[in-house]
């Protein structure tokens, strides 16, 4: 059976074009990151990575990420449960609202938090009176990170839970299982891989967020510098190798994210083949 574009010449030409363009625009930058990071050898790379400010930036980035993930997880599961298991007025509106962080420029996201919680904002002024400073400190970084990452878990869960339907949970209800047991024993096993992928995406974005964080961080070296802000400072100081050492760490997390995604997809395909 003949399909469109099956002629050997067309086929070869299109594959070649796709591979060549992808290599040029996607693979080359990836290679360049590691080439730059190791340009002066392993020892210099290690010195750059173990620099006290780099270590502090890694620490802050991990701290923010570890706090962000559970918040996004609870919200994502609650929202997905709500919009896929119940019908109620305003359901579509909720699903549109959750897309806002994807559409809003990260700089605008940082700005709206700064305007509200900064010293001149109505809430920030109030907090300032009690000596609570959120902006230009880690709580501000945490808040904008939660803002930009909150759709990921919900976005992974909603289509899956919609497709799966709620028959299994309804059966569990008729058997008299309490709510938490239903969630833990029936829902969770069905959604765990999508949940994991949502967490992986949340993690990747939380670690790498730049625009929103740079508005609210103040970028104080060793204190409010996350890893992406730290590499920006190094780059602006013409310490290219140092900047790329941090970039390589972040690129490594990106590669692990891609590998995890491929692994989860492979798993899902195998399960489908068995079913």
């Amino acid at each position: 059976m003949q399909r469109i574009g099956d002629a050997p010449a067309v086929r070869r030409g299109l594959i070649l074009a796709a591979v060549a363009l992808s290599a040029l625009f996607l693979l080359l930058p990836l290679v360049a990151i590691f080439a730059q990071a190791f340009a002066q050898g392993m020892a210099v790379f290690w010195t750059n990575v173990s620099n006290e400010y780099t270590v502090a930036a890694i620490g802050l980035t991990l701290f923010i990420t570890v706090l962000t993930i559970p918040v996004c997880l609870v919200f994502g599961v609650a929202l997905a449960w709500l919009v896929t298991r119940f019908q109620f007025p305003g359901r579509r509106v909720l699903q549109t609202l959750i897309d806002i962080p994807f559409a809003v420029s990260p700089v605008v996201a940082g700005l709206i938090y700064l305007l509200l919680y900064g010293r001149n904002g109505w809430l920030g002024g109030l907090l300032d009176g009690h000596d609570i400073q959120l902006m230009f400190a880690w709580p501000g970084i945490l808040m904008v990170t939660i803002f930009v990452t909150c759709p990921f878990v919900a976005r992974e869960l909603i289509p899956l839970m919609q497709a799966q339907g709620s028959r299994e949970e309804e059966a569990a209800v008729t058997l008299g299982a309490p709510g938490w047991t239903i969630f833990r024993r029936v829902t969770l096993p069905n959604i765990r891989w999508a949940l994991l992928y949502g967490v992986i995406l949340t993690n990747a974005r939380a670690v790498g967020e730049f625009g929103a964080v740079s508005v609210v961080s103040g970028a104080i070296r060793g204190q409010t510098n996350t890893l992406p802000l730290h590499l920006e400072q190094l780059y602006q100081d013409y310490n290219t190798v140092g900047a790329f050492a941090s970039a390589a760490l972040l690129a490594l997390i990106a590669l692990l994210t891609l590998a995890a995604k491929a692994g989860l997809e492979w798993r899902a395909a195998r399960q489908e083949a068995h079913a």
């Binding site: 019908q87 305007l115 709510g179 625009g211």
Partner: protein
Amino acid sequence: MSTRALPFAIGSAPKRVLPGFGLSLGVSLLFISLVLLLPMTGLFGQLAGLSLAEYWAIISDGRVVASYTVTIGAAAVAALVNGAFGLLLAWVLVRYEFPGKRLLDALMDLPFALPTAVAGITLATLYSSNGWMGRLLEPLGLQVAYTWVGIALAMAFTSIPFVVRTVQPVLEDLPVEVDEAALTLGANDGTAFRRVILPHLWPALVTGTGLAFVRSLGEFGAIIFIAGNMPYETEITALMIFVRLQEYDYAGASAIASVVLFVSLALLLAINIWQGRFIKRLHGGGG
């Protein structure tokens, strides 16, 4: 995806069998109010302090208008390039088998997984005059770094997955009969693709290109390193907001941000409506 869930949704509509409605509604509303909606009040509060004439003066300032032109122009070019590139990649990944296909497929997600600042410094380094690409291109008279070409390149890089990942599933679901019908009627590949395949892909292609455009309008981290950031020439609107903030001109930053916010939300809504109409039409046509 919502069409598939429809029969179930109608069946379970009348009564709530499952527990947890109150709890999940409470958690969701609390979160959306605190994280998404409350911060918006800060922006409107700041804007309320401006008169209409002041507001207009800020957003129609020459340097700011120049930044709109640069941003929209580069984002349009990036989106169109990605439309073509994304269509090619989706086609090759769905229709052909070849060694390294899985790797190529995984590589498509790199721009979403890679932090934007990392992409930014890498592209700037690659395309500067002594970078791997810059060294090749500059003798040919093509300067990429510190020009709008660099801005478009950075935008295109960060938004590639949108087109590929929107077109790919639609192409996968296209039945073989579509191809056969066209070819048995004697059309050649080009005509068959244009007249038979493209009309099926069109809605997904527009959606993906639209999403890429919206993302490019707001992109910051990937662009600022390669842009050169010359006022009136290579300054993007997101950077203008940042510049106003560093001048402690909160009103100015808010006014420009409100324009960006309004445009991106309006585009998002338009894309959602376009997608919704398309799904309804398919569903209605099917029965």
